[in-house]
Structure formats: structure tokens, C-alpha cells
Amino acid sequence: MNLDIFLQQVPDGDGAWWQMLASGLQWTLLVALCAWIMAFVLGSLVGVARTTETRWLTRCGNAYVELFRNIPLIVQFFLWYFVVPGLFPAVKVWVTTLDPTHHQVVTAIVCLGFFTSARIAEQVRSGIQSLARGQRNAAYAVGLTPLQAYRHVLLPMAYRLIIPPLTSEVMNLIKNTAVAYSIGLTELFFRTREMGEMTFRYFEAFAAATLVYVVIALTANRLMAWIERRVAVPGYIGGSR
């Protein structure tokens, strides 16, 4: 193992290999962050829809979750990247005006956003359904509308309860950004492989990427644990500490 390789210049680029990996890491984190925001909003809406008493809304929510859960992520990437522009001329026209990198980034965010939203919807639903029935009834009894009941009673409780599974979804999302390599996005894994291929120093390149992913996972884990402690509900098992 020779660490000098990271300081060596990239043959046809500016900067050393470590800078190349760092620029890949930036895309990884940017895509993960944007996809998380999108997934959190969409997933909450769909999760809430699945707990309402409106039959068709529940059905649509269930179908949404099944759709994104039962197709492999890489196939979903291909669908968003190749099939959607191929089927809808308007999308194709818009996509051709984009810079190729931007097309890849947008695709990755949309794809991972929808994919992760289905998983968050599942967690939000189970969080809301794990609350005692009395909470919803109490909210209605004091005169809240269904919307207000979700906003002030059910969701604030449910979100706190599902922080542990949401933590693993954050980490899954970060790991899943590597699949964006399949559409050519120059994220961390893409750069790692590129470095291995061009320098034949696969061991060093992969070891560096492994270290970075482990550090990200640990950081995300600690961050979520901190949030969990901050917002813990007194009286619940997690909150009594």
C-alpha cells in the first residue's frame, strides 16, 4: 500500500487523485441530501395518505409503495434515465437542453427520491399506526380537523418514534447513491473505479472509498442519535433516559 498515489496528478485533468475523489464525494452528498428532502416530503404525504379513512387514498398510497419497492434500484435508474425521456417527447426536449452532468444529477435525485420515499412512507405509516387510537380520537374530541390532528398530534409523535428506522434509511440512501454510477454520474464510487482503472491501484482506491463510506455512515448514525435524544418523548421507552 502506497499512499503517494493520492497526491499524484490525474493524467488528463486538473488536480490530484484525492481531489478527484473529493469531487465525487461532493456529488454523493449533494445527491443524497436533495433526494432525502424530496423523499421525506413525498414519503410523509404518502404515509399519511395510507392511514386516512378514505379508501381510494389508502389504495393509491399502497400501490405507490409497492411500485417502488418491487423494482430493483438499477432498473429504476434506467427507467428514469432512458425510458422516461424515450416515452415523453416533452421530457426529451427538456433533457437535451441540459448539461449531461446536470441530467445525471437530476435523474439520480429524482430516482433516489422516489425510491426512498416509498420506504419512508412505510415507516411513517407504521409510526402513525403504532400510536394509541386514543390520540387521534382525543385530537378530534378537542375539535381539531383531520388535517390539524395530523399536523399537531399524530405526525409529531410518529416522527419521533420512527427515528431509528429513518436512520437506517438515511444510511441506505447514501449507500444507494453509488448505483448512480450506472448512469455515469461522477459520484464517489465512479471516481474510485476510475482511479483504479487508470492507475491500476485498485486496492488503494477501494480502501479509500471504503473508509469514506464508513465515516459517512458513522457520522449519519451519530447525527440521527443526537436528534433522537433531543426530540425524545418523555414517558416513552426511548424518552425516559
Binding site: 411500485l67 418491487n70 423494482i71 434506467f78 427507467l79 432512458f82 444510511m171 447513491t177 477501494f206 464508513v214
Partner: protein
């Protein structure tokens, strides 16, 4: 939208079927191997001997914190080197991505199966193992005859759900140019420029398979739940 040609699928169906067969084969082998190795890892994690428990925990946490794609490429490039040092051969043996994928997925999935089996083992009342020891059984007998059969049974729906996830994850080997189901579709899509048709077809097949499988698992879960 008018120039879609779904007949291309009929023409390449045998090729796609061969790919799907490889996908299923890899899934089954990796699931079986993963459960076995994962169970051993779970027993190691629960071991009273700290170094063993720590080593197993370290392995599981490492595998679970890096992307599967990275693991696939790690093994693809390192397996020949590793085998060379093990066998003492002069040159790294050529094993190919198709075969190295089996080992990769067994070792990777074992980390996930380990956590499931650990929960399963911990769900068995302590008194049961205690009763086994009181009868004079040793550790392996207690595990094999009392704890593991129950743990497996309790965790069967979760194990099968993980196997369905594995079935989807196997598609990532297509990025190593392996002709699994997705890999076969990619090759046809590029050769015949039938990208839209091929990927839609692949998505539909995966959806139908995974949806029916998870529906079957839910059914099974309900049946098992009544017995207990």
C-alpha cells in the same frame, strides 16, 4: 412514442430467460449460503468470548456501512489475488465475474442475515437453552436441536423478505458485464437500440415476481402468526 417495437422481446426471450435463470440461481445460492454463514456470525456475535463477538460485530458493521456495489467490485478485483496467495499459484487465477459473484453475495448477505438470526436467537426464552444444558446437551446440540429451529421458524418471513431484496440486489452484477437478467436486457437494448422496450419489460417482470413473492411471504406470516 409510435415507434415502439415490443416484438424484439419475443425474439430475444431465450437470451433473457438464460439471464433470469442465472439471477435466480445466484439468489438461491447466496440466500442459502448467506443464511448458513449469517447464522454462524450471529452465534459468534452472541458469544461470551469477547474477541470473537467483537470480530463478528466488526465484520457485520463494515459490510453494512459500505455500498453493495463497492463490495462487488472489491471482491471482483481482490478475489484472484486472495486465491493466489491461498493456493500459492504463480499467477492470479481467472475466476470471472460470474463465479466471483456467488462468493461476494454469500459474504455480503451474511451480514444482513446475521442481524436477522441474532434477533431470532434472542427471541427464544433463555430458559429453553438452560433446560437443554440441564439435560446434558452441549452448546452445539442446544443450538442445533432447540434454539436454531425455533429462531429460523420465527424469522422465516423476515429471512424471505431479505431474500427478495437480495433477488433485486443481484441485478447490480450487470455493472460487471455479467449476463444476469438486467445484464442480458442491457446488452440487447444496446445492440438493437431498443432501450425503452427492454427496460420496461425488465421492470414489469421484476415487479410481477417480487410483488407475488412478497404477497406469498405476507400470507405465510399470517399462517405462522396464528400457530404461535
Amino acid at each position: 412514442m409510435g415507434d415502439l417495437d415490443f416484438e424484439v422481446i419475443g425474439r430475444v426471450l431465450p437470451y433473457l430467460a438464460a439471464g433470469l435463470q442465472y439471477t435466480i440461481q445466484l439468489t438461491l445460492v447466496a440466500a442459502a449460503g448467506g443464511v448458513v454463514f449469517g447464522t454462524l456470525l450471529a452465534m459468534a456475535r452472541l458469544s461470551a468470548w469477547r474477541p470473537l463477538a467483537l470480530a463478528a460485530a466488526g465484520y457485520v458493521n463494515l459490510m453494512r456501512s459500505i455500498p453493495l456495489l463497492l463490495v462487488i467490485f472489491w471482491f471482483y478485483f481482490l478475489m484472484p489475488v486472495l486465491l493466489q496467495s491461498l493456493t500459492g499459484a504463480e499467477r492470479p487465477p481467472q475466476i470471472g465475474a460470474e463465479r466471483s459473484a456467488y462468493i461476494t453475495f454469500i459474504l455480503f448477505e451474511a451480514a444482513y442475515f446475521c442481524e436477522i438470526m441474532r434477533a431470532g436467537i434472542q427471541s427464544i426464552a433463555k430458559g429453553q437453552a438452560g433446560a437443554g444444558y440441564a439435560l446434558g446437551l452441549n452448546y452445539w446440540q442446544v443450538m442445533r436441536l432447540i434454539v436454531l429451529p425455533q429462531a429460523l421458524r420465527n424469522m422465516l418471513p423476515v429471512l424471505l423478505t431479505q431474500a427478495i431484496i437480495l433477488f433485486q440486489d443481484v441485478s447490480l452484477v450487470s455493472l460487471l458485464n455479467v449476463t444476469d437478467f438486467v445484464g442480458a436486457a442491457v446488452k440487447v437494448a444496446q445492440r438493437d437500440s431498443r432501450v425503452v422496450e427492454m427496460y420496461l419489460f425488465v421492470a414489469v417482470v421484476y415487479f410481477v415476481l417480487c410483488y407475488s413473492l412478497s404477497a406469498a411471504v405476507k400470507q405465510l406470516q399470517r399462517r405462522i402468526a396464528i400457530v404461535r
